[in-house]
């Protein structure tokens, strides 16, 4: 295939992946990596590098919108970025060390789990009082984020920190934003309000992915000719997806996409196990 045809094909696929990623709330990465590897035969190492770059673009491009409303808990985000960036370094090292087949199998498992998580309704147990570490780190906030808003407490800092490290590993090993794991840590483990959890997760995704992308860039895993259509396509697609989100039948769409994601996950695992080319 010529470079021109390949670029057009990848840009189109990435555009669809970005749209679906925004509609499901999973992000473009979990869809663009299987697309590149399964449908277009791209080596998973190149696919992960290109996907990480697109994750930074979508997270940062949408940042202005979610930072404007003030729901992001800045201290929680910045503090937990210690965990996600260290995890991302570890994940990058793991990605260099593991065979591509193993990475494909792990990707399939994480994809299947993410699909399940995207279907479950948020059911949080609000923290009644901040624990000592949270008080020391001044992690509490207000909702709505104004002087008269109700104060909310934060708990489970060590557990949230550990899970965030895992989110960092998954992000750079697999080229995904791992927003589902981040929201799990903030919402379920640390007891933050859901709106605060999702926006703070978004806020952290770019920095986490930047740590992973840095490792891949200087290891030579980021190919400009491949990353270019992936980044531009996913970015444009996610803007469209965010616009469609307001009028889309989200619950039904998520069910449909969850089935698609399970099929992709099964194919990734099968190919990884049977030594198919991934």
């Amino acid at each position: 295939m010529t470079l021109l045809a390949f670029t057009a094909l990848i840009a189109l696929g990435s555009f669809v992946a970005g749209t679906v990623g925004a509609l499901t709330g999973l992000g473009g990465g979990v869809i663009v990596v299987p697309l590149l590897t399964l449908a277009l035969g791209v080596d998973i190492r190149y696919a992960v590098g290109a996907s990480l770059v697109s994750v930074i673009a979508t997270s940062s491009g949408a940042a202005a919108a979610y930072l404007r409303d003030g729901y992001v808990n800045l201290r929680v985000g910045l503090f937990l970025e210690i965990a996600t960036t260290l995890g991302a370094l570890a994940g990058g090292a793991l990605g260099v060390w593991l065979s591509p087949d193993r990475v494909a199998v792990i990707f399939g498992i994480v994809l299947a789990v993410s699909a399940v998580l995207s279907l479950r309704a948020p059911a949080r147990v609000a923290a009644s009082a901040s624990d000592r570490l949270a008080v020391l780190l001044r992690l509490g906030g207000r909702l709505p984020p104004v002087a008269g808003g109700d104060a909310y407490a934060v708990r489970g800092v060590p557990g949230g920190f550990a899970l965030m490290f895992g989110a960092g590993v998954a992000s750079s090993l697999l080229g995904i934003g791992s927003g589902a794991i981040k929201v799990l840590a903030l919402d379920r483990v640390m007891g933050l309000p859901f709106k605060v959890s999702t926006t703070t997760s978004n806020f952290m995704i770019g920095v986490t992915a930047a740590a992973g992308a840095g490792v891949y860039l200087n290891r030579g895993y980021i190919d400009p000719a491949l990353a270019m259509p992936v980044m531009l396509g996913v970015l444009a697609g996610s803007f469209l997806g965010a616009r469609l989100l307001a009028q889309a039948p989200v619950a039904r769409l998520r069910l449909v996409f969850a089935v698609v994601l399970w099929l992709l996950a099964a194919q990734m695992i099968y190919n990884g196990l049977t030594d198919h080319h991934v």
């Binding site: 670029t7 930074i56 930072l67 992973g212 840095g214």
Partner: protein, 126 residues
Amino acid sequence: MSKTALDEARLERRLGALLRAGVLAAATLVLIGAALLLWQHGGERVSFAHFSGEPRALRHPLAIAADAASGSGRGLIQLGLLLLIATPVARVAFAAVAFWRVRDRLYLGVTLWVLAVLAFSLLGTR
């Protein structure tokens, strides 16, 4: 404790603007590089099925800048991607300055630590 309170809402708006500007600038560079690359090499046959790793000129910040300056499409795209990766890093640096200004030592320390990890990942051990 901090002597002056940090205006979080203002800081958040600024961080948002910084991130958006970074993405816009990066996307513009990538688009210019893409036009150049496709113009010069659009007809060549490619495959990403076999992993071989990028040449050194497309790996390290200074080498990438030099390659881009020579007018290579690939170099320009890579410079755009490097700018994109640097955007969240700049966001952390910006927050560090804000915490330093209000003498919030705890969060100055937190942001500087994150900045150090990011620098390590981007510059590598060699």
